[in-house]
Subunit: 248 residues, 2 copies
């Protein structure tokens, strides 16, 4: 953590066993790391799980947007640095910078965390604890997430059931598992030729153990849109922009 | 790493977002950590990915056995310490000790890593690099893995297709994904009442992207046996022993 608590950094090493078929960090792992560094920073400034739990409150991840110039590969060191851009009693904007082993910036993420009351599962009030939380002043050059629209006239619809290992300590589907479910709409060969330049996801309502969902994809708009629906209602929406990669 | 290179330790902190429905470390994450500490130790003693890759060799994880007295929970510190018990040109026996934040031992793992020639995908020869690798002398009190037998007269058979996010840098299914696929045969409520006291898994042949497998389970033998089969041939076998847990 920086001396004034405004920033928090974790250094990582990417072992071979963690890498995806393209020998770089999988997007779900990157999302996991973003959640991790955010959690550690929150813990260290008194707005973490332990302090919130006592008050019946929790942070729920509402949106993530990630833009990567390149992805860390096997045996590479990389670091995530996080800071809060803004915070009020209902939500906070938290950013993350990804740097490589040489300290060069290789990507950014923007996240939105919403306060909920754990009992009612509705909007919570962070007034009592959010005052005085130090804000960072580092710029985050990627655009905020635009509102993700419903996916109309899909190209593909697949059914998927969430199982035991998809469920987290809140008893609903883990944030990273939505990312996996979305990426699994494409194949290994597609990702040999294309990598994600920008990934946006909005978590809208919780999915539970054994829920069967529809995963709906539309590709023909310059990017790809994905919606995870249960009983016809959107639970998660995502937008993926790809760029071509050279032969591996 | 210890001064003589015999042992390697990594300290972890378990954040809330990493935990399973029972608010403890998920078994697939524990397996991932075991692979990670093993990889880091191998890298640090010159028998890691980079040195082997140059010689067209790789370590392939063949078996894991894990016995846990208890599992680390939310916001707990824990550590994995690894050492090589024996090594020859074809395989090595590597053990892992799990300790909690107070330094108390809470579990052990035994692993077997086999040398393969990356081109032929057959047995490799580690003679040139394995000599002089320091062995640890810490005892590992859990039993070696007994040969896992075929699952006859199964209670349940489920079909499963492996997708993009299941595939690792070797272009086959990631070791942890077999563990997930096996655990997914049970539900959240079962794991509320039972935890795994011992987990054995043997990796027999590689599964690839888009492969459809049968997951076969038999429960009536004092423990549970699982086999993942493709075209009728076993690719992975596992044995799980459970013990009851108190109400959450």
């Amino acid at each position: 953590m920086s001396d004034d608590g405004r920033e928090y950094r974790i250094d990582y090493f990417l072992s071979a066993g963690e890498c995806n078929a393209q020998s770089v960090i999988p997007m779900p792992t990157l999302v996991q790391r973003i959640i991790e560094v955010s959690t550690m920073h929150a813990n260290s400034t008194g707005i973490g799980y332990a302090n919130l739990h006592k008050r019946g409150l929790a942070w729920v991840l509402s949106r993530i947007s990630i833009e990567m110039d390149r992805y860390p590969g096997i045996n590479e060191h990389f670091s995530l640095t996080t800071w809060i851009e803004s915070a009020n009693r209902h939500f906070s904007e938290r950013n993350v910078m990804v740097t490589d082993g040489s300290g060069d910036v290789i990507g950014y993420a923007r996240t939105i965390w919403v306060a909920i009351d754990m009992e009612s599962r509705r909007a919570g009030d962070m007034s009592a604890i959010i005052d005085g939380v130090p804000l960072g002043d580092r710029p985050c050059p990627i655009a905020r997430q635009a509102k993700l629209q419903p996916v109309t006239v899909p190209d593909m619809v697949r059914h998927h059931r969430f199982r035991y290992c998809d469920i987290d300590f809140n008893r609903h589907v883990n944030s990273t598992r939505y990312v996996e479910t979305i990426l699994n709409e494409w194949g290994v060969e597609f990702f040999d030729r294309n990598e994600i330049s920008r990934f946006d996801i909005a978590y809208m309502s919780e999915i539970h153990y054994n829920d069967v969902v529809e995963v709906v994809v539309r590709n023909d708009c310059g990017y790809s849109e994905v919606e995870i629906r249960r009983d016809g209602a959107a639970c998660t929406r995502a937008r993926l922009a790809f760029r071509p990669v050279g032969p591996q």
